[in-house]
Symmetry: C2
Subunit: 561 residues, 2 copies
């Protein structure tokens, strides 16, 4: 009997899961909430685009969460014993890079940079770099369209080089003191295996390929000449970044003696190379050919795989098509919505509708469930945090239309749910338009498990059955599966992900089937959603409304100076 540890570094906390390699049973779990900032995020009240993290929270989070999970497993599972742990896997958010020195130590850990947010971790949802993203996009479109072809045609402000270039421009002291930049996930596998040095830390293929335009076809990262046009110092940095990247079936290294001792688990067990949360989450949910995995949280990540052939076209708006970013040996396809749960949370926590008997998610959901499709006359766009797939544009904003003098909070709440479902349908349509057939949709994440109304609306709007992953912790489970694979069958793990998925993952019995009558109404509504989507989101659209949200943001930026 053997066990693996899966570590899932989320936006606000890290979760540790201890999993039985034979059947996926979850023997122990623990969460550590990051202590820095607001719910783990360093914010700037004057700049809503800024979102940073403290890497010390990651270190402390590993220790506290693993220790607690072990204690829980010992309590819950009489077969469990820390000596039976054979590997560790890690997932994290991204692109979440940080500046480090030559030893791989984050600059934020030096007194000199204490309190300077630019020296900390640039969290995925930091959007300070939208100007740089536009600049990189424009240059690549002109000189190297192939760089963008596999990441949706637009380089995002959420990504690696946008953030580094923005730092170079706005805080040259931090940039100059950074020997290199590492993704959060590589920093974590680095400190666990004592391979933090930027020249030896094993970089995640997932992060490299999806966010840093890394591709072996053109020799890894974008060419020096390309980076030099953006800024000569960025070209100099290239040499101190990396030229190789690794899939999650490769060990990042062996657990260091120091960490093994601290945690009371075997020395020298393998730690798998990391990947982004949703990519390992997709593995934990059972991703495979024809299976779309939707990880629905504050935002969504939509993950598929496709055979590595030369026939697969570029798919505009996808966050990436990267060889080996999900399952080794397959193209990993990533799409996503910039906000889903975050939109519902915004309505409940910021607007706080309903006065004294104020709307909780539960209260609003109960009332919204009484409504029929179309009955409110409302239609919304799900762009409160921009649009990731298919428009890849952070400078888009929300829209609500159809309000009367009788519109009630639950009607708006339902319209917001529907808007995210229309966004989900737009992603499904885009994949299929480009030949990636979807036979099965597997949902995971808290909303998929806990809100049947959301899942039923998704079924009704997409006209597809919505299945739900068995595990509540697919990301951590996927990390644990990577641990089992790097450990290998000989050590009590598995030799590949196919075997690991068969043994360790599964679906719930309960699924959500589309109601044909509801689907019919939603087909009419989707036409209108798509009309708004194209009019406000596409510059080429004849309606020419695409200026409006951007001009409003420009006016807002000027007003906030």
């Amino acid at each position: 009997m053997t066990y693996v540890i899966g570590l899932d570094y989320g936006t606000n906390s890290v979760r540790c899961l201890i999993v039985d390699t034979a059947n996926g049973n979850e023997s122990g779990t623990a969460i550590y909430e990051y202590e820095t900032g607001e719910a783990g995020i360093i914010l700037d009240p004057a700049d809503h685009n800024l979102a940073r993290q403290n890497p010390a929270d990651y270190v402390r989070g590993a220790q506290v969460s693993i220790t607690k999970a072990i204690a829980e497993a010992q309590k819950n599972d009489k077969d469990f014993n820390p000596d039976k742990i054979i590997g560790i896997g890690v997932d994290a958010t991204g692109s979440t890079p940080m500046p480090v020195d030559k030893t791989g130590t984050p600059l934020s850990m030096f007194d000199e940079f204490k309190g300077n947010p630019n020296a900390y971790v640039w969290l995925w949802k930091d959007h300070t770099s939208h100007a740089e993203a536009a600049e990189i996009t424009a240059l690549a479109q002109k000189d190297h369209p192939e760089y963008l072809a596999k990441c949706g045609g637009i380089y995002s402000s959420e990504w690696f080089f946008s953030k580094i270039l923005h730092c170079l421009r706005t805080d040259p002291k931090v940039f100059d003191n950074a020997y290199s930049w590492v993704e959060c996930v590589d920093y974590i596998t680095g400190f666990l295996t004592d391979t933090l040095r930027p020249d030896i830390v094993k970089r995640s293929r997932c992060a490299a390929g999806h966010k840093a335009m890394f591709n072996n076809r053109w020799g890894g990262l974008p060419a020096k000449e390309f980076l030099a046009i953006l800024n000569p110092r960025l070209a100099q940095l290239r040499e101190r970044l990396y030229s190789e990247s690794y899939t999650v079936d490769v060990p990042a290294g062996m657990l260091s003696d120091q960490w093994a001792h601290k945690l009371g688990i075997p020395v020298g067990i393998p730690v798998a190379v990391g990947a982004f949360d949703c990519h390992l989450g997709a593995i934990g949910a059972g991703v495979g050919p024809g299976k779309l995995v939707k990880i629905i949280g504050t935002s969504t990540c939509d993950v598929m795989v496709a055979p590595v052939t030369r026939d697969l076209p570029d798919i505009p708006g996808l966050c990436g098509i990267v060889d080996g970013s999900v399952l080794p040996g397959w193209y990993g396809l990533e799409a996503g919505q910039s906000a889903v749960g975050d939109i519902f949370n915004w309505f409940v926590n910021y607007i706080r509708p309903g006065g004294k008997d104020a709307g909780s998610h539960q209260g609003l959901t109960e009332k919204a469930a009484q409504l029929k499709p179309g009955q409110s006359g409302l239609l919304a766009l799900d762009w409160n945090n921009g649009n990731r797939t298919i428009l890849v544009d952070q400078r888009l904003t929300g829209l609500l239309l159809g309000q009367t003098l009788h519109t009630r909070p639950e009607e708006i709440y339902r319209a917001l749910i529907e808007a995210t479902a229309f966004g989900a349908l737009t992603i499904i349509n885009r994949l299929e338009e480009y030949g990636v057939k979807i036979d099965e949709v597997i949902n995971c994440g808290g909303i998929a498990e806990k809100n049947p109304l959301v899942m039923q609306i998704y079924a009704d709007i997409t006209g597809r059955e919505m299945k739900v992953s068995r595990s509540s912790q697919t990301c951590a489970l996927g990390s644990a599966m990577a641990a089992a694979v790097v450990a290998g069958k000989a050590s009590g793990g598995h030799d590949n992900f196919d075997q690991a998925q068969k043994a360790m993952s599964g679906l719930r019995d309960m699924t959500y089937k589309p109601d044909p009558g509801n689907n019919s109404v939603y087909q009419d509504l989707y036409k209108l959603y798509r009309q708004l989507h194209d009019a406000f989101g596409l510059e080429s659209f004849s309606g020419q409304m695409s200026n409006i949200m951007k001009e409003l943001l420009a006016i807002k930026d000027r007003a906030n100076i």
Copy 2:
């Protein structure tokens, strides 16, 4: 020393004002809240378009409010004595018609029709007749464009013939039992002067010209042949309606002995022909050449006068250009916004933002006042109740755009205020585009008096000084001035409205001046507002978004079957 009574029949209550004819001092005032329905309105939970009233509330309202106002004047003003009252004036909402029998008694007062909302008063904001409005518009556009030319080019669902035709179609029993239909305001002057019979009651020029396509140029009401195409029975009804209409300087009759006795005031004093609340309100606020009066309440009414010449063009979207509807001898020009205060009330009372420390108007206003123009990034359309001027389209709905995950209630509240101000600017621009120069803007109504933020935003957005009427009760004051004019100088009143205005009305010292910096930002925002306005509101606009709100309403109508 003489006094006049002004009666102002609003949407939820009637107000009585007792005014000194020499200086406009308000000696006594009283309000009677209508008792029927919800705040005086009979509603249908299954049809948000329906809004009816009980005419018995008008009768009781006259007695109670006048009696109380007299008592208050006796307490407040030692010079006052009921014997010194020399006339009564009346204003009311409209078009607010009701079916009556041959004696002028409303059908709703007969047991046979008790509880049937169609036999009651069809309140101005009843929108059940939108299909009939479209039909009348289409027919007039084809056969008699002159009928529409002076009422904005579109016949509204709020107006006289739309409502009667809808009754004919949906409740023929009520239609057949109606000998005639009278406007609320004519019913009131009728019962006070015992001239209720439909063939003798003096019909208001204001109501006739603005809402019933009445014009002496084509012999009064629309031609029999025209009405016959809509329905032959409507043509038959025409003979039982009216062929003359009267301005507010004409007595509707003399106060009946019965009412004089009941109220304890002189027998035989004149009661002026009535007009709509905002038209007499404009007189009370000091309307005259070059002076736009904005009466800002749940909706707005924007009133001007222009010389009676053949040069004045038709102005698309105005509710009407009617000879004598405001000041006798001048064209009365009416424009308006379908909802202003109602939109703010919707947000506070239906959405109830802010959770337990829930947003009151005051709380939201205080926070919204801290924001700079453009700072929220939000932009709204003020169409929650459709658009009156300049689009004349009830089948339009609200729109809010620019939301992020950080948008707060006070930002939305301010955006809603700004939206109504942009709507106000659109009306001002439309008037000036057609040669009606505006030198002065006088505001009245509760919002104008009590909410400096709204007035400042109106000044900043329109780039014009916002003045405020001295009286808080300009409608009732205007009615009182009509009473003074029909009484005449010989009886202690005034011989014309120019004299009456000079003596009885005025402005407050406080005015709101536009801030040039704010105005500059708002000019940018207005361009975007206008872009949305035209895209969603005009069928001819190249963006072709004008289908969206209407299709949503059609889907909503089907869902609610």
